[in-house]
């Protein structure tokens, strides 16, 4: 359809365009017909989707007496940071956050290295049993995490890894690794073999062709995969709840328990939620363009 969004689109196509000639005829001038109606719906959709996030921040910034009110205000006025102070006072905040960062970061790093090798194997090599491996990885990804919690709990208990960060990192690989392999495979498959082939015709080894040609094209995909994996690990609740003790827990469980410490104090709770979510949201917004393009973009099209 008529896609006008000029700055964004050109930025997206820029990456692949460098690697390959893209003799694409750009779409004609946008038709204004119906555009304003779509814009109206678009704004409404954005408002509805964004409302919970907005309401969280709004509540967090309001003074307590305005936050809990029969007549809620839609602007935080006067703005206060008391709720944030309060949230930090209620219990240890930074401990769980650091643990979450360590766990998610390590899991993703291991997942990316190990997963990339496997993704290469199933996307660039023809070998007997390849299809079985792919079906296996897909199937493994379908096993719901919750179903595994009982044997995983018993396994870590036996290994002496209960309540250890190393234990939980290992178990987080159950969902990060298959996802990483499958997603990276999708990215690699979308990078045309012809690029590698021509590099190899020009004298590159297979490894050289990968490092010089495929890897740069794959980098956005790896960033996207890493971020998504990180978010999954950061968000994980059940394993953290069950495999770590209360004093050694992650940020998600910390927030989940917030309710019980002193009844339901919604304003500080929203402050805690904001502190947990906003860094992730901002980080995500910064790289979102790459994620969106990375998922389906290829270098040579058509």
């Amino acid at each position: 359809m008529t896609d006008s969004a000029a700055p964004r689109e050109t930025a997206v196509t820029e990456l692949p365009a460098k690697a390959a000639p893209a003799p694409k005829i750009k779409a004609k001038a946008p038709r204004p017909k119906g555009r304003s109606l779509y814009n109206l719906i678009g704004v409404a959709v954005a408002a509805i989707l964004g409302f919970p996030v907005y309401w969280m921040v709004n509540t967090a910034l309001k003074p307590d007496k305005y936050a809990i009110s029969n007549d809620p205000k839609f602007l935080p006025f006067p703005i206060t940071l008391d709720n944030f102070k309060r949230a930090l006072e209620v219990s240890d905040f930074w401990g769980p956050v650091f643990r979450s960062l360590i766990i998610a970061g390590t899991t993703v790093a291991i997942g990316l290295v190990v997963g990339l090798l496997a993704a290469l194997a199933i996307s660039r090599f023809a070998f007997r049993g390849r299809k079985v491996v792919i079906v296996g990885i897909l199937t493994v990804q379908m096993v719901p995490l919750v179903a595994m919690i009982i044997p995983v709990f018993l396994l870590l208990n036996d290994l002496g890894q209960y309540n250890k960060l190393s234990g939980i990192i290992l178990t987080y690989l159950t969902f990060v690794l298959p996802f990483t392999v499958w997603t990276l495979r999708g990215f690699i498959v979308n990078i045309p073999k012809e690029l590698e082939e021509s590099a190899m015709v020009d004298g590159c080894t297979r490894t050289g062709a990968f490092v010089r040609v495929v890897f740069p094209l794959l980098a956005p995909g790896m960033v996207a995969t890493a971020i998504y994996g990180f978010i999954q690990a950061w968000n994980e609740y059940l394993y953290a709840l069950q495999l770590l003790s209360q004093t050694n827990t992650t940020a998600t469980v910390w927030l989940g328990n917030f309710t019980t410490t002193r009844g339901t104090e919604y304003a500080p709770m929203m402050a805690g939620s904001t502190m947990m979510a906003i860094p992730v949201v901002i980080f995500f917004l910064l790289v979102q363009r790459r994620i969106a393009s990375g998922l389906t973009a290829g270098a040579v099209k058509g």
Partner: protein, 330 residues
């Protein structure tokens, strides 16, 4: 996607051994050594993944299966009593329990509803994204990514607050509009409660679907759409016969993932109900968890979890077959 044709079927270009000698000696090395490394290399690359998965997934899966045929409770956990084999006792106990069947039906309805809403809304939003002006698109993208990035636990607490009985903004809004929702408790009736949980799940799942489908839509060749239009196809026919077929691999992938994720919903229900879901709020996931870690009957919990996996495999098998058929898995 065009990648289907170009990548899948092409046999690999003579696999040269990794990291080995660069340029010289190209011709002579080709025969035996390369053929050997050609078969070994992929397996070497796969080895680390397979080892990790064997430990963290393979073994627990086997243990899950064996547990469900055993008697394993608190005393077995601490080693006070030996583990006994029970045969199918756990399963016959579970399967003859009407509570279990209620939970199964509830889980299936919930999953199907959530996936359907997610996919339809995601596609609609994706199509909207390619039709709006760039500033609206930016606005929508910010909203989408913000809700996508929200940690589930955060989302649950925010929704709890928004739907709070006394001071929730939703009750206030609905009352303002003229409906009687003052002090309305959304969770007394489990249908209403699940409606909110479903809104929460769909809200969290739609961004990934919408953004991915939007990325796919921008790749739909314009020439195809134009050709269809020139042949006299209307907007709907272009959508039905050009857009949808091109997007199909992505749609199948997204639907598959959605089924997996929505069937595995746990934290949303568990936290919404304050860590102790009432009987009418139990899904298969929370039900199994309850049996294992509240009642401390690990083997009964395992039996339920195993049945969940089997049920899920049944649902997924349909999608897998389609993926094999369309060549997504090649």
């Amino acid at each position: 996607m065009s990648a289907d044709t170009s990548t899948a079927k092409v046999p690999p270009q003579r696999p040269s051994s990794s990291a080995a000698a660069p340029a010289p000696g190209r011709a002579p090395r080709r025969s035996l050594g390369n053929r050997l490394s050609g078969t070994a290399t992929p397996w070497l690359l796969l080895a680390p993944t397979m080892v990790v998965l064997a430990v963290v997934l393979g073994y627990p899966l086997v243990r899950l299966a064996t547990l469900s045929f055993q008697n394993f409770g608190q005393s077995q956990l601490w080693g006070f009593q030996p583990t006994e084999w029970l045969g199918f006792d756990n399963f016959s106990a579970v399967l003859s329990d009407s509570v279990f069947w209620d939970v199964v039906v509830r889980t299936i309805i919930f999953t199907l509803g959530a996936v359907a809403f997610t996919m339809v809304l995601g596609l609609l939003i994706a199509m909207l994204l390619i039709r709006v002006s760039s500033w609206v698109k930016t606005l929508m993208n910010i909203a989408l990514v913000a809700s996508w990035a929200m940690p589930i636990v955060v989302a649950v607490t925010v929704f709890k607050w928004m739907f709070d009985t006394d001071y929730g903004v939703i009750n206030w809004l609905l009352t303002k509009v003229g409906l009687d929702f003052d002090r309305h408790n959304w969770f007394i009736d489990s249908t209403q409660g699940f409606a909110i949980i479903m809104v929460l799940v769909v809200w969290g799942a739609v961004p990934f679907v919408a953004i991915t489908l939007h990325a796919g839509l921008t790749q739909v060749p314009k020439e195809l759409e134009e050709a269809a239009r020139m042949d006299g196809a209307g907007a709907f026919k272009v959508f039905r016969y050009v857009t949808i077929p091109v997007l199909k691999p992505i749609i199948v992938m997204l639907a598959t993932l959605s089924v997996i994720w929505d069937m595995g919903v746990f934290a949303q229900v568990f936290l919404m109900r304050g860590g102790h879901p009432e009987p009418e709020y139990q899904l298969l996931t929370t039900y199994s968890y309850d049996k294992a870690f509240v009642v401390n009957d690990y083997s009964m919990g395992s039996a339920i979890a195993l049945l969940t996996v089997l049920l899920l495999l049944g649902v997924i098998a349909v999608y897998m077959r389609q993926m094999l058929k369309i060549g997504e898995v090649e």
